[in-house]
Symmetry: C2
Subunit: 189 residues, 2 copies
């Protein structure tokens, strides 16, 4: 034991449990494709520094150091570390940083049409993100059947899609609520 790494380290370590061997660059791409929806996509430079730390602690093994590209794979020690982290530590609660909700909270500072425009832009962004996640989900077809070893990413992607759908629904209804108020106020004026 005796390791306590930030969650992002374990997340990157976890991306190396899918049976393949990646360069730092490829690991970053994998993080961009899937991790970013539920966690964060670390900067390129952080991927390399995390890999250096994981290597130092013997949790990953390198191949081809010195040449143009180095690949990384999970070590037995790394697998044990990941497993004991998953079994033995409390995940903690999720943290949401939602700039649109924050600005809606402060809606009295600006006029209603400005707030409505912001929410409409958010719906558009939501659609774009959803579409990106759909692409990821498509890429998992075949590996996602019950009993398949790597079926979990498919489950999480479905979770994410459901989240997007629900958020779209509620934001749309908030827009309507604000629209009705607008009409009311115009009636008063």
């Amino acid at each position: 034991m005796g390791q306590d790494l930030p969650v992002t380290s374990y997340a990157l370590l976890g991306l190396l449990t899918f049976g393949d061997e990646l360069t730092g660059y490829e690991l970053k791409q994998r993080a961009d494709a899937t991790l970013r929806f539920y966690w964060v996509s670390p900067a390129m430079s952080q991927v390399y520094s995390e890999l250096a730390r994981l290597t130092e602690r013997g949790l990953v093994l390198t191949r081809g150091g010195g040449e143009r590209s180095t690949t990384y794979r999970l070590s037995a020690k790394g697998r044990r570390a990941l497993e004991s982290w998953m079994r033995g530590t409390d995940p903690g609660f999720s943290v949401l940083k939602h700039p649109v909700a924050l600005r809606l909270l402060l809606g009295h500072v600006v006029d209603t049409p400005t707030t409505i425009a912001m929410l409409e832009a958010h719906v558009a962004a939501l659609d774009a993100e959803r579409e990106a996640l759909v692409q990821v989900r498509e890429g998992l077809r075949g590996a996602d059947a019950p009993g398949q070893r790597f079926r979990h990413p498919g489950l999480v992607a479905d979770w994410g899609l459901d989240y997007f759908d629900n958020e779209r629904r509620i934001v749309t209804s908030l827009i309507e609520r604000l629209h009705e108020e607008e009409l009311q106020e115009e009636g008063d004026a």
Copy 2:
């Protein structure tokens, strides 16, 4: 102009737009009560250092400096800064750090019952958080009618409650999916 503060600074500044005057301690409590659901609750020490910076830039005014407790209120300049931030800058997309989704993604590393137990604990945590938000929502009764000046916090709280409800629903269904797979596997063995 020439100010570019982190979002958290504007968030704290925004909490001072509700017509009252607060101590750092009270501001922290307000952040704990509402901001934490959509953004973050900064540490006590950060609240004080942010207030110091906002004061330095003239965005908030202090009363009673030197005595045991100092209160802070929004300045005209602070209001303009907040407004131009809300109108003129892109909110950006929300960031979700979801340790439970992350661990579900890596479900192949542990056994299914462990994953199910984690999801069940998450449902319990969700219920507790929801209940805390219900309390906040109750405190907003009266200020939340259409046309009321400070009705937006009520809208955001409703959004948050809907989010919790939806997440509970999907996590529960994920638990069922995993349960069914478990039974299937036992049948095979």
